[in-house]
């Protein structure tokens, strides 16, 4: 039924262009097709029942997903925006409307700002250390070698283990005079021994080290997958022209791996901004808030201290920062890939 009505309005649009004879002047493909369709359906004469049936089918197919999505994704997000405007402990009626005061407090709070700084430190360290390391290892392993399949499995093991379980093991490994210190001693490296989880100046870097252990495998596997699509002929041709291994990698392979690297960097960035599990288990944000992240801060104020309104304001600030960075990244860095992909398709 709506199909017929839609066609009618299209016809009106045509009529405005040329009231006497619509069809020949219609240039828009959609209008054309709509007209044709309405003509066909009118000829068929019994579109009604099948149309209803189709709608029913669509409704049945979409409804479960849509209901689940509305209740558990859309509703909480809408509520988050509302809660953030109240001073509320989550139990009493929500009556204390305070406008944007929560946001002002979040942005002015030094603990939050430091937490943000810690998140950004992790973002930057990931790009500066995990990227070259992951890329180097992937390039090195990108050749036929014995045990390659097994090695790929092994590299992925830390990624598969739950962050919490990894955190519990590392917590024990990093104890003062624990296994790591004993290893360092065995290699006569006592000079770099530290209070890994107790010295506020270095705990964040310890955390970064453990995160690297956990997530470097993902980068390597991703880069190795990307390297499969780099044609071997190119490096062979370069080798024939006398290029060294390193020159070939730098001038040919790495540039061709660009899109994969940029996607990895994007994922790494978004993940670093939402860091929680590992920090919560290993340090709870301490000592002296030296490893507090935005999410540990949110949970400790919003959940542990029942400041629901304030906590959701933190969540929304976190969301805005992530979204802003995602959009900037999309606009300035990933866009290149899209343009290249488009022009590639045209050719």
């Amino acid at each position: 039924m709506s199909g017929v009505a839609g066609a009618g309005s299209q016809r009106d649009a045509g009529a405005v262009i040329d009231p006497t004879d619509a069809a020949p002047v219609l240039t828009q493909g959609t209008a054309d097709r709509a007209l044709a369709r309405s003509a066909v359906s009118r000829r068929a004469g019994r579109r009604g029942p099948s149309d209803w049936r189709k709608r029913l089918e669509i409704a049945v197919l979409v409804a479960p997903a849509l209901v689940l999505f509305l209740i558990f994704v859309v509703w909480p997000i809408v509520q988050a925006a509302r809660y953030s405007l109240f001073r509320w402990n989550g139990l009493e009626p929500m009556t204390n409307f305070i406008g944007l005061d929560n946001y002002k407090e979040v942005l002015g709070d030094t603990v939050f700002r430091n937490a943000l700084g810690h998140n950004f430190t992790i973002v930057v360290l990931s790009l500066l250390i995990q990227l070259p390391l992951g890329l180097g290892i992937a390039l090195l392993l990108n050749r036929k070698m014995r045990g390659r399949t097994v090695l790929r499995l092994i590299i992925f093991v830390p990624y598969v283990i739950a962050e919490v379980i990894a955190a519990v093991v590392w917590l024990l490994l990093l104890q003062p005079r624990g296994p790591l210190d004993a290893m360092l001693e065995a290699f006569h490296l006592t000079g770099i021994r530290q209070l890994w989880l107790a010295e506020p100046k270095i705990v964040l870097y310890t955390m970064f080290g453990v995160l690297t252990w956990k997530y470097l495998g993902f980068a390597i596997i991703l880069f190795l997958a990307g390297l499969q699509s780099v044609p071997i002929e190119l490096s062979e041709a370069a080798a024939l022209d006398g290029a060294s291994w390193w020159q070939t990698q730098r001038r040919i392979t790495i540039p061709l791996l660009g899109p994969t690297i940029r996607i990895w960097a994007f994922l790494s960035m978004i993940g670093s901004l939402q860091l929680f599990d590992m920090v919560w288990v290993m340090t709870h944000g301490g000592p002296g808030r030296s490893t507090e992240t935005m999410v540990t801060y949110m949970i400790s104020v919003g959940f542990d201290r029942n400041r629901l309104g304030y906590g959701t304001a933190v969540a929304i600030v976190l969301f805005a920062i992530s979204l802003g960075m995602a959009l900037l990244y999309q606009r300035f860095i990933l866009r290149r890939d899209n343009i290249e992909a488009d022009s590639g398709r045209k050719r």
């Binding site: 558990f72 499995l153 093991v169």
Partner: protein, 283 residues
Amino acid sequence: MSTIDVAGRSRIRWGAPFTYLVALIIAAICLGPVIYAVLGGFRTTGQIAAHPAGLPHPWVLDNYKLVLTNSGFWTQVRNSVIVAGVTVSAVVVFGVMAAYALSGYEFKGREVLYNFFLMGMFFPLTVAILPLFILIRDINLQGSLLGVALPQAAFALPVTIIILRPFLRALPQELEDAAMIDGCTRLGYFWRIVLPLSRPGLVTVGVLAFVGSWNAYLLPLLILGNSPTTQTLPLGTASFSTQYTANTAAILAFTSLAMIPALVFFLLAERQIVNGLTGAVKG
């Protein structure tokens, strides 16, 4: 010797031994903590304190016995299985239904609906966690496994639909026409033709949802709380380690056992996990 075999020619390249050395070091670093935990479970806390990086001497089975006879451990395994099972079923079944409606049918507002689901990609569960906690409390699902599984499934829907829609669209139109001529209804076609053909896609999204659910911590932490009978395995591992702080060996035994399901699952589904992750990333 291996260099000759590998390169397929007799010239020895200096790069190969170096590659193997690096590979060995990487493997040691990746597996080191895991091996440490497994071996540590066979030692006593006294042994560990005396020689932190030593081998079991003598080997003791008490720690593993303690954990395996601890009903909490098995309850938590069961809870994790239930949560992951419900999450995966819900997200795969509902996801493929919606993805089919959004690809196999022409209707007004289809793209709007698709983009509506797509928008969910921008909102990670973390951002909505506090209101989600309130919601779960208000509908009396606090402490219930369903209270974890349903939100997880809901937040996994966008990526599921994004992966499945192109998959379903790639099925040739001729297939549908042929089915219709043979008297198949639209839903019959979905059930008999689309579902079997899209199995690889379904496995991919299912495996991704499973891994996410199995390792989840934040949502279970808020919803399931401190009672060992309702906790999932990651939550239980964290609780166990704070409860038995002094008993390092028992903690190591617990974590080793807690790792096993994920590692076994990974060995079985390695291809799907890696392909799923790299595929989802490349879009």
